[in-house]
Amino acid sequence: MKAGENSRKLVVLALIWAVLLFAPFWMPPLGGYTALGTRVLVLALAAMSVNFLLGFTGVLSFGHAAYFGLGAYGAGFALKFLAPSTPLSLLCGTLLGGIAGALLGALIVRRRGVYFAMVTIAFGQVFYYIAFQWSSLTGGDDGLRGFSRQPLHFGLFSIDILSSTNAFYYFVLFCFAAAVAVMGFILGSPFGRSMIAIRENERRARFLGIPIERHIWIAFTLSCFFMGFAGALYALLNNFADPRGLHYSQSGDFVMMAVMGGMRNFWGPLLGAAVFVVLQDYLSSITVNWMSFVGLLFVAMVLFFPRGLLGVIARRSAA
């Protein structure tokens, strides 16, 4: 029974990576374009980071866009003021998002449930208004401009990820794979299992000797590092960072992607992000009210398929 399950997992994994690896080839014939695929990857990484907390620790953060946005600004500042280096900008963005998460997380993890969600929103909005008001540094409502991603230098050769959208797609796919591998590794470790224990039954976990608050804080901090990394990639994708990336409605989008895709499933948010981004791209060319349609779909999903798209698929194939 166990062996069959493992081989099925391997097949699914191979399928996911094959689809991602060949996206620049199969997307254009289907009416897509490579940059759309890049966007899916970046937002999927963010949604997976939210789900790291929501789906695997059972803690709902409604202000995670703050760390996403901080990552974007961190990357932008590094490119604009420090040095024209893509890896450095990723590092700065990740650190800015992660460290802010570690500091605020220490205050937030004392609350649970609705209060936790409210406090995360409040801190998120603080960053939104700082970015909005501090125009001299952040460009305010117009966003941070005047930087662009830089070619990658490997001594003998360099890769131009600025003008070649395919090269940039593969660069983002590489970053996505690295981040997701780390995430999967953590979830498969004893610490990861203790996170799941907290989700399943906090009281039982406490009486197994697991220090709940500290573990939620570590999970929160890790998720903010992933979030900052995703935000930094987002800044590189757009060559631009703006306050809306910090706004709580952006946090809501990430939660929607995770829930639509299936939050008990590691890959659920990837599917959710793909559906969300493609719908947004398609519907927004038809109507400015595209969000009402996505919202309707979301409501229908939650009502009829509470386990999300991947949850439904997994159940079908298991039966």
Partner: protein, 249 residues
Amino acid sequence: MNVLEIDNVTKRFGSLVAVGGVSIAVAKGELRAIIGPNGAGKTTFFNLISGFFPPSTGRIVFDGADVTLVPAHRRVELGMARTFQVTEIFPELTVFDNLRIATEAANGHRQSFWMAREQKLKIGRLVEETLELVGLRPKAYRLVGELSHGDQRAAEIAMALSLRPHLVLLDEPTAGMGDQETYEVTKLVRQLHQSGNFTIVLIEHDMRVVFHLADKISVLDRGRLLAEGTPQSIAANEAVQEAYLGKAA
């Protein structure tokens, strides 16, 4: 030597005195039953022992060390494990994973991101041993949430045992069970007691179970210690009969 000494412990919730000035001492290897009518403060008393909340006044000594203000998860590290009146498990995980989480936590891996191969094998062996001990091996890869009530309770006791405790607190292990399940769980508890590795304190409603298992019985009534002694002396105690049956008219 006494494993557990409760010294004049009181717990108030506002003006309600849930536990008032109770003292008991439990010797190493003993199986102590705590009984009492509904609302006698038995579960509150358990929560005090396991560190769910601190007492208003009084002292709790575990293995000779004062643990009155030690938080619950630290008491687990010191060798105290408990089960709950309503079974507390990880329902969406397999029996094996439930025990693995407990075993990893007990062996200092709760914060590890990585484990060496021999560590993993050792954890696996320990889990197998515990599965064997409680007779859940054939159901190791079933989801705990899908098991029968009795098996879920056995799984919960197994999780407590995975912590390698020497004091085990069982809050109504046979609550809501049929005869057959009650028999199975009682057998398991007696087996643990006879192994001599554990000191056990249990709350129980089923008098057959209590008189069958306990070395000594403490009776709580309205937050106070009403009587204490061997099963025979408790059965013969008039005050206890009165508390249970109401004052004879």
